[in-house]
Symmetry: D2
Subunit: 340 residues, 4 copies
């Protein structure tokens, strides 16, 4: 159950409502959150004994809604309009304009990242991706330039104005990410690293939460809920392919995730066609399908020299290919009332 309150409600009034809820309900917990215009109480647990009628009488109560799904704050029933993440400088995620994130799998050098940033900006990207801390299956593979990589991303941002999206692998680095990064990415392997999710929930930075390689949509929304229940409502979901028996593609893009998330949640959802297929020439058709299905953004691996990339070269496209894809996406975006 969710109770929406007048945002200006006083502390005393709030406590009165909370104690009303907890009366006769030992297995109930109350979570307090704030949206732009309201205070939201989430009532978690067996809430059959909550006396709804007496709570409803309180003039600060705007709405009471019953929610069966285990995800509460991420649920569209609680927040019927789309969440729009506003960076305050005109850039928004979840609104008409499709979020275009592009860049290399790994940051490799200043020359590389600045050159790619310039090229994808020209093509129409507004966000720069680039791995500084790399989650690799093997401890012997290139693990990223780490802090040096973050510095190079900042130089590329300076040179182009593109915002930085990059992955965090340890909560030890959170302070630096808070300071240096625009959107903090949680990788598929850490989607259920609950310790990390809770700590990111204390931040107010937008979090790009990738779906786990074999996570259900409900589990994914529950991971968003971990972040949101700690106070951070700025979550962007990212579908990046799921693991199936099919071996011709690296993963299987679950395109149905887009309409499902749109129906069940108010959070923005973007698609990663590069990791989904793992094949360069499939980025174009999958991007087209993604935009047509109604997604809010695309994160695409672009490298100025894919053959020599330190990671994921097989799925990276060149800046020229990116430029061409963006142009082909424009009429499709327009057909579904979106802009690129």
């Amino acid at each position: 159950m969710i109770i929406k309150l007048n945002k200006q409600i006083g502390e005393e009034e709030l406590e009165k409502i909370k104690s009303e809820i907890l009366k006769n309900n030992e297995n109930v917990r109350v979570v307090v959150n704030e949206s732009q215009n309201e205070k939201i109480l989430g009532i978690i647990g067996e809430n059959k004994n909550v006396d709804v009628s007496s709570i409803q009488e309180n003039s600060n109560v705007l709405q009471i809604c019953k929610i069966d799904e285990p995800y509460k704050l991420a649920n569209r029933k609680v927040h019927p309009e789309d969440t729009i993440i506003d960076f305050g400088d005109g850039d928004k995620v979840g609104a008409d304009k499709i979020m275009m994130i592009a860049g290399p799998c790994s940051v490799e050098s200043e020359e590389q990242i600045v050159e790619i940033a310039k090229r994808v900006k020209e093509a129409g990207a507004t966000f720069l991706r680039g791995g500084a801390f790399k989650p690799r299956t093997s401890p012997y593979s290139f693990q990223g330039l780490k802090y040096e990589g973050l510095e190079l991303l900042k130089k590329a941002r300076e040179a182009t104005g593109l915002k930085i999206v990059t992955e965090i692998m340890s909560s030890d680095d959170l302070e630096v990410f808070e300071k240096d990064v625009d959107v903090i990415q949680v990788g598929a392997r850490n989607m259920q690293n609950f310790d990390l999710l809770k700590k990111l929930g204390k931040s107010r930075k937008p979090i790009l939460l990738k779906r786990g390689i074999a996570s259900t949509i409900e589990e994914w929304l529950m991971s968003a809920e971990y972040i949101m229940s700690e106070g951070n409502q700025n979550v962007i979901l990212c579908e990046r392919g799921i693991r199936t028996y099919e071996q011709m593609t690296r993963n299987t893009l679950d395109i149905s995730a887009v309409p499902l998330i749109k129906k069940m949640s108010h959070l923005p959802i973007i698609i990663d066609p590069s990791h989904a297929a793992g094949i360069r020439w499939m980025v174009e058709p999958l991007s087209k399908a993604a935009v047509a299905s109604g997604c809010d953004g695309l994160i695409i691996e672009v490298h100025n020299n894919p053959e020599k990339a330190l990671s994921d070269g097989k799925q990276s496209i060149t800046p020229d290919m990116y430029d061409n894809i963006v142009n082909q996406l424009k009429p499709i975006a327009s057909a579904v009332n979106r802009v690129i």
Copy 2:
């Protein structure tokens, strides 16, 4: 290895080439097929000892191509241009115009099928689907009207001019299907019913081959190969969702199958968004994604009274919804240089 020959090659010449191939190659088999303009020899098995240079000298030999993939006739390397299935009356599959198949899961009555046929034709469909023989998980579920159902489909065809697409479940019915049906569907459960596939290979009717619920793309092409190696080159592939761990949708639409098939094969590929999701409101976004990805057609379940449908009501849309979807698809089709 594939050898393309002049179609007018004489029997004697052909035998000479075949014996040249078999010389010193006891583990080799030669399959002979015909396309519109060529005779095609498929050389199957260990063909290292085949003396290519001496065969190449024969003036009837147009081209020799080495093919590593196990699918030969279905392979784009053998047949670089798209296969276009031409019904001779203007209707084509695999060309610019997207194949629009619509109709109910089951044929239920004359009134029902004729009414739906009229409505979907108005909306833009050119093919009518409708199950007469129904493959049901339970022996106690409605098994279809069978031969009576075929008769009703013929009445709907008469009334509208729509061609009939319907599923065959037993090779015993093949003679009737040959006579009465325009496109013979093989359901997902029979994708590896090799006895049926071989018999359909002797027919010249177009075959709509649905992908098995957990078949790889390679296995699917091999099933097409079963039909083609018996002589029937008119195969239309249909992706209808694969089985994964995700339970929110009935199956997971593998949208990547479209570009993969387009790359590896010359056969047309269509999408079934109704079975893929199993959810009415998802037909629209998945159809949009399918068209944007480059598919050659859509097969959609439409019922005039979905709530009372004898099967698959949950995923059937109304004729009005179909009309609306077709209209929304038009600009997307146009964005990828196709027509609806």
Copy 3:
């Protein structure tokens, strides 16, 4: 709902009960079957309006049981004791003695099949497997010796007394199989070939029904139900590995299927460790796990020259290895109160 009747019930009495059931129930169907001692009426569909109390008064009614699961005749609730298939000569399936089926993937020659039959019989097998009609993914692979293969199997039976288990691929061959074969196998690819299942339901031969490569346990039981609802109660289920994302083994043996089937059904269940893993050295540990889990039999590929086998050589073991495995299984069988 299932109603068990006195087997000697007269036709008139039976009709009276049936009309009592159908009264006021237009969506109900009655299926009549016979077990050894009873006539069984299966009432399928919405049976809320069936007047149970008035039916119960009829002296021919032995028992009425309500069954929520979609499988009725295969359900342990209908048939609480284990089904034992009795060949009349001492051989039984489903009783204390574990069914030991062994033999090559394909029948290749008289010498081969007779030699292997002799060797596996010595080691303790009582059934001989061997493919005459082979379901191969590729139309260009060896498709089996067909009728000649059946003749060779009969020679091996003559020489050893081993009963024949072999796969049927077309209902066209059913008459010959009825005459020549002891247990008719339905392969994984045909598990939902409902036309074939119905025809096998008219037979009284034991049917070995392999689980489809991605079929749920419920779907598998429903396929057994197709056979049983046509009158043939002699169904043996065979788990042979399911398709998952893991690629180190050909399939993933679902060992949980054994206790699940034992709980939900009365039918015997056997395990095929050869196809499950696709790796020779894994046959031993998986066979041990299978026997320990409570299965009723093992079907194992044995070849006298695995390196030269025409199919599935990688997973075939030698007769010596088979002998060794059988010896190692004996104490495990004894630990779970079974005999080999």
Copy 4:
């Protein structure tokens, strides 16, 4: 490539060998580890130019082995004998005696954990499991007693002598775990939390590494490699069911993992039948299958009042059931030359 060196090799000699390896090989990395009797150099990357013959001449070099698999230290080729983890007080993992871990999903109270510890010890367990920090899909579910839970586990250890196995969720807690816990568990959701794995690699405590819910066996070994490459060789692998399409069980126990791990690695592997099935009555047959397949241990959820358990009650068995299962496992263990 792996080079085993005399453990007493001097620093200077070691550097000489390392520089010999790196000569002409800019893409090569050398990882140094120690086993009980040897120093092990792992040569990672393109090592075609390494001059093996000149290195072999060095008298400190005991063995050079080429390893294609990406897992090096976890590879049986490097360490042909089984790894035995010796607690120094007679308890060992990986030797003849099967590791029997039992206890509740969550530690709930002193009374609960001490009572269960006493009961499972009597039945034959030597390790006590119990969750203090709980990874729950929902942020609103019971998250464990945390540090208080660890204290209660210590009391149960005091009372019974059973060693403690419990899960770590944050590297922040590592210092406390080092001090208080006997075996540190990494849960399935954190199998690829590489930051945590690296930190655990600096510890010398045995690590129980659960397989991720959809991880391949190779990925799992690579996660062990993360721990081992940091110096901690005491890794116990735990198969706990993988995610498949089948919905009757919570997960699908991949029994093949036991022989596969035994073949490819020297690390001990145990089975968790409770999480694999998620169904109480299946613990017994799956435990039998696990022991027969050759596993080194079993981790089983036991609760004194499963119906009232704060988590996972459905799959927990009672102490009486545990006692009964242990007794039934004894003859199976003996049949495969193991002891319980």
